[in-house]
Symmetry: C3
Subunit: 274 residues, 3 copies
C-alpha cells in the first residue's frame, strides 16, 4: 500500500528542515536520518528563510516556543509557502497556554500548512484557534474509541477542509484525514507515551515522508503514522521479551524505523480507509 512512499524517501533523500523543541530535537534529527532522509535543525532567524526555501519539507513544532524561535518559524514558514515546500505543523501543548494559542492563531492567519499532526486534544485546540474560538470542549477532547470512531472521522475530515491541511491525529486509534478520505491505523502501544518525543518524532518522520512525496501528502502522512505504529509494536515486543524498560524501548523504536522496509510495514500494519 505504501511501498512507493517509502521507496521515494530512500531514493530522493529529502532535506528536512526542522524547527522543533530542544527537548526532543536530537530524537527528531535521528529519526529523519533513520528513515533515510537528511535533517537540518537551523533555527536562527538570520538563516531559516534561506534554509527552508531549499528544503524538501519543513517541520514546525511549538513544544518550546520563545521569542527567537517564533521569529525563526515565521521566516521559515513564509519562505516555505513561497517556494511550495510542504510544512508539517506539530501544535504541541496547544491550549496549554495563551502564548501557544496566540502563536497558532497568527500562523493560521498568515500561512498554509500541508499537514497538522498532534493528539486529539491538540487538534481540537487547533480547531478552536483557527476559528478564533477560545478553549476546547472537554467532552469533545475524549480519546478516539471504536464507539465514537465514525463520528470522529467525520469531524476530522471537516477540520481538514476548514484548515486546508491533512489532519493527522495520534492516539490508540490514529486518524489521518483529508476532506474526502481518512486512513485509520490501530498499530502502536501505550509504552510509546512513556518515552518523551514520540509525537515530535512522528511529526519529523511525517515531514520526511512528505518531503519525498509532494504529490501525495495524505498517503505520505498516513504511511509515517503507520510506520511509527509498526515500529512501536516491534519495539514493545523486543523490550518485554527481554524484561527491559522504557530506555531500551526508545532505542529499539529507532532501530525499527531504521530497518523499516515495505515488507515489514505491509506485514505489520493494521490499516483501513474510510
Amino acid at each position: 500500500m505504501f511501498e512507493q512512499i517509502l521507496e521515494n524517501v530512500c531514493q530522493r533523500r529529502p532535506l528536512v528542515h526542522c524547527i522543533t523543541n530542544y527537548i526532543t530535537t536530537n530524537d527528531c534529527a535521528n529519526i529523519v536520518l533513520a528513515c533515510g532522509a537528511s535533517p537540518t535543525m537551523a533555527e536562527a532567524e538570520q538563516e531559516t528563510a534561506e534554509i527552508a526555501s531549499i528544503a524538501d519539507a519543513v517541520d514546525i513544532n511549538i513544544g518550546n516556543l520563545n521569542t527567537m524561535t517564533v521569529a525563526a518559524m515565521h521566516q521559515a514558514i513564509g519562505a516555505a509557502n513561497q517556494h511550495h515546500v510542504p510544512v508539517v505543523l506539530d501544535p504541541v501543548g496547544a491550549g496549554a497556554s495563551s502564548y501557544r494559542m496566540d502563536t497558532l492563531r497568527d500562523f493560521f492567519a498568515r500561512y498554509q500548512f500541508a499537514v497538522i499532526r498532534g493528539n486529539v486534544s491538540e487538534l481540537l485546540a487547533v480547531g478552536g484557534a483557527a476559528s478564533n474560538t477560545k478553549g476546547v470542549d472537554a467532552g469533545a477532547a475524549d480519546a478516539v474509541t471504536e464507539e465514537n470512531l465514525e463520528e470522529r472521522v467525520a469531524f476530522f475530515k471537516q477540520l481538514s477542509t476548514k484548515l486546508g491541511a491533512v489532519v493527522s491525529v495520534s492516539g490508540a486509534i490514529d486518524i489521518i484525514a483529508s476532506p474526502e478520505k481518512a486512513y485509520i491505523c490501530r498499530n502502536g502501544h501505550p509504552m510509546m507515551s512513556r518515552v518523551t518525543g514520540t509525537g515530535c518524532m512522528l511529526s519529523a518522520l511525517t515531514a520526511a515522508y512528505c518531503g519525498a512525496n509532494h504529490e501525495n501528502i495524505l498517503e505520505a502522512a498516513a504511511a509515517a503514522t503507520v510506520a511509527m505504529g509498526v515500529a512501536g509494536d516491534i519495539a514493545y515486543r523486543k523490550t518485554t521479551e527481554a524484561g527491559l524498560g522504557t530506555g531500551s524501548f526508545r532505542v529499539y523504536l529507532m532501530d525499527a524505523i531504521s530497518l523499516m522496509g515495505a515488507e515489514t510495514l505491509n506485514g505489520g500494519m493494521k490499516v483501513e480507509v474510510r
Copy 2:
C-alpha cells in the same frame, strides 16, 4: 519504607514542570515519564507562570542559564510559591561563575524552595550564597566519607534549617536532611558520574516524587535518591556482566527507573536514618 511514596506517584501521576538545561532536558523528561509522572518543559517567560501554577511540582536547574531562562525561572518559582506548588532547586555548578551565584542569591532573597539537591560542593556554595558569603572552603568541599559522616549530617541539618528546605546531597554516600532528621543512602555506583545528567535526572525525579507527596517532602526526596541509587546498582550490574560501556549503562539506568517497584526498592536499598 517508601511504598506509599511510590504508590502515590503512580496513582496521582503528578504534572512536573521542569525548567532545566538543554544538555539533559531529554533525559529529565524521560525519567519523569519513566517513574509514572508527566513532564512539561516549558521555559518561555510568556507561559511559565501559567504552567507552574497548575503543576504538582516545579524543578529548577541552573545548569545552563541565560537571560531568557532566568526570567522564565523567576516567573515559574514566583507562581509556584503563590500556589503552594513545591519547588526543587538543582544549583548545578554553583560557585563556578559569579553569574550563577548572583542568580542563586536573588532566588534565595525572594523565594521558598521545598528541596535543594546537588553534590557536596554545590550545596556548600549554596550555603555561602544564602548567607552572602563568597567562595567555598576547599577543605569543607571534601566528599562525604564514613569518617566525616557524623559531622556532615549535623552540618546539612543546620543548612536545612538555614535554607528552610530539605537538603539532598548526592555522592558516594547520600544525605537527605531536614532540620531534625536525615536519611543516609549508600546505593549507586561511580559509573553514574560518567554519564551526563544523572544529577539533573535525580532532581527531576525528586520533583516528581514530591509532586505526588506534598505532605511528605523529606521522605519523597529520600525515596527519589534511593530509587536512583538502586537503579544505578542494577544498571551497573547489567552493563558489566555484558561487557558494555557507558552508553548502555545510561539506557539500563532509565530501564531500571521505569521498572522500579516497592519490592525492588526495598530489596536493594542501603538506607539508615539519623
Copy 3:
C-alpha cells in the same frame, strides 16, 4: 602510536568547555565523559569567558548559532586565546547560510584556533571564508578517495598553513594535517552518518584529547579521529551481528569510546602518515 595521548587524557582528566549546538550537546557531554575527561557546556555570555579561561580546551561548534550563542562564543574564544587554551572549531554547515559564513569570517579575523574539524565541504568553505572568497568549487567538494588522496593531502597541508591550525577532515578516508605532516585514517563505517552528531562528538573528543596534550595537538587530533573510527567499526560489528539498527549503533558507539584503551586502538586502527 597514540598510547601517550590516551594515557594523558585519563591521567589529566581535562576540563573541556563546549559551546555546541543544542541538537547534539548531550552526546558531546557524554563522549567527553566516556573518554575520561570532564565537560562543561556553559554558553551564557555572562560566564563563558570566566569558564573558558580555566578550561583545558574549548570546543566551538556552529551547528546552531543564534545571537546569544555567537556572543558567548566570542567571549569564550577570546578568553581561551588570552590564556593559551587550545580551541577546536567545528564549522558545521559552513557555506549553508551567509549567517554562518559571516560568523566564521569574523572568527578568523580575530582569533587563533588549534584544530578545525569538519567534513570536506565544510573545510573547503572554511578555506574560502578565511580568504574572503565566496562560495566553494563544487568539483573540489568531492569526497576524499584513493584516487585524489595525494592531491587532497597536499591541499589540506596548505590549508593548515593558511589557517595556522591543524586541519582535521572527516569522511570515508580521514585526513588530519599540519603544514608538514598528515595522518590518514581508513577506520569507521557509513552507518556513522546515519546517526546525528557523530561529527559533533568527534570535535568534542578532539577537544578532550587536545586538552590533555597541549604540546602535541596534531597527534591528539589524529588520535581522536582514529579512536572514533575504531569505535565505529566495533559498534557496526555489534549492531549488525545482532540484527539491530541505528538506535543501538549509537549506544554501542558510546560504549566503545568508554571502553577504548591503547590495545583496542592499536589493534583496530588503519593509519598511515604522509
